[in-house]
Amino acid sequence: MSIRIKLPLDRSKISGLRAGERVLLSGHLYTARDAAHMKLKEMLDNGHKLPVDLNNETIYYAGPCPAAPGRVIGSAGPTTSGRMDSYTPALLEHGLIGMIGKGDRDDKVVEAIKAKGAVYFGATGGAGALLSGRIASSEIAAFPELGTEAIRRIEVVDFPVIVLIDPSGTDIYRTNVIKYRNIREEAD
């Protein structure tokens, strides 16, 4: 059973979410990965205004394939979020409230998520073909020169995610893996 949530998020929509819950997201969000984060951080450090207003926005860590003719976007699954960890607390400070990616986050990010009541979702890593079918539109919002790493504004419809770190800071990676550790395979 999945919970349906409309984007953009706000605290009231996500405060009740718990790690492990499945959510279908619909609405707009932004893609950004390594190079875009580096640029955003540089802008913040220099006191410049960001090219997109991050207030209550969600960032999807993804660098899609180019769209073939007749398609909105190419394959578009999540990239490893941990590479964005050093930039994330500053973006959360600037209003970012949701993130979608794969893989664990460092303690500073978990703390910042907790402090801000934000949420970190996971999309199935490697399921880029499947996920691209849930994207209804895509346009460049900033840094076109970065190619696949540009910031895109995309509209998603019932985009399937799982809550990895909830607003209370509970992290499914830290809680669920332990449950299955040391179980022997029955098959052999």
């Binding site: 190079a35 899609p64 669920n176 893996v177 332990i178 299955y180 550790r181």
Partner: protein, 281 residues
């Protein structure tokens, strides 16, 4: 008998292999992903495996890449010593094929020209090319696009011979646990033991090409593959790193003679999207 092969044909072959490899997973990999769903006990893990199965079907039907990280193209060439390449340089022909395949296949350009300056080359070139000269006049190319979610989690260590097989097991299992969800588990492990530093890394990568579910011909290495697979699958990481029993689908080890003072071990972690396509001219 000497045979002449035109560069133009090499370029065409490489281009089509890049596209095929990225759209359709090899049958052995598809099979182990499919059968893993029945072995998995965690509901979260089962859901990930179901997604991956569906994803393979969507990619095949719509002719789009399985994963948006269409990788750095690793190209293995086996060229017979009686083959002559005409019409240009072999490596240029391969590079042109990668450019053509990635551009015409609407695949992602993920390569930066300088590792520190980081400017994207725009057509996913250059590839990493490994050429091996073999007897005869055959010409065989394998394109293995390698995603970096998993490549980044790979590791190499020069163990002391006294650390032995236990040292190898601990090193590999640690690497998998450190990798966690990042390499998009379920993973395939390519492990190279022996040789020199670069030889261990190369045979680890080549081991990823071996059919999933098969074993090394050496009995003690085949047993080691089973031991590592079992240990890794008791790590709890599971599909998507969300907890479960199926962390790895296969462990492929290759070995090479080494120095009296050394025990190099390389583990090349690969995701479920362990892609490769082979063709001959």
């Amino acid at each position: 008998m000497t045979r002449v092969i035109e560069c133009r044909l090499v370029t065409e072959l490489v281009a089509s292999l890049c596209i095929e490899a990225n759209i359709i997973l090899p049958a052995d990999i598809a099979d182990v992903i499919s059968s893993a769903e029945y072995r998995e006990v965690s509901p979260e893990g089962k859901a990930v495996l179901a997604d991956l199965k569906l994803n393979m079907a969507v990619a095949r039907k719509e002719r789009i890449p399985i994963c948006q990280d269409t990788g750095m193209a690793v190209v293995f060439v086996k060229i017979g010593q009686e083959v002559q390449i005409s019409g240009g340089a072999l490596t240029d022909a391969i590079t042109a094929g990668v450019s053509k395949g990635y551009t015409e296949g609407y695949m992602r350009a993920s390569i930066v020209e300088d590792p520190l300056l980081r400017n994207n080359t725009g057509d996913n070139t250059p590839p990493v090319i490994h050429i091996e000269i073999v007897p005869g006049n055959t010409f065989r190319i394998t394109v293995a696009p390698k995603g970096f979610g998993s490549e980044n989690m790979s590791a190499l260590k020069m163990l002391k011979p006294s650390e032995g097989v236990e040292g190898v097991i601990d090193f590999v299992v640690d690497a998998v646990i450190t990798a966690g969800a990042n390499p998009c588990p379920p993973i395939i492990l390519g492990i190279g033991i022996g040789g020199t530093m670069e030889k261990a890394a190369l045979i680890a990568k080549q081991a990823l090409l071996r059919e999933a579910g098969t074993h090394n011909k050496l009995k003690h290495i085949a047993e080691l593959e089973d031991i590592i697979l079992d240990k890794v699958n008791r790590s709890g990481i599971g599909p998507g790193g969300l907890g479960g029993r199926v962390t790895a689908l296969a462990v492929n080890i290759d070995v090479y003679p080494t120095h009296i003072a050394g025990l190099p071990v390389a583990v090349n972690i690969s995701c479920h999207a362990t892609r490769h396509a082979t063709g001959s001219l």
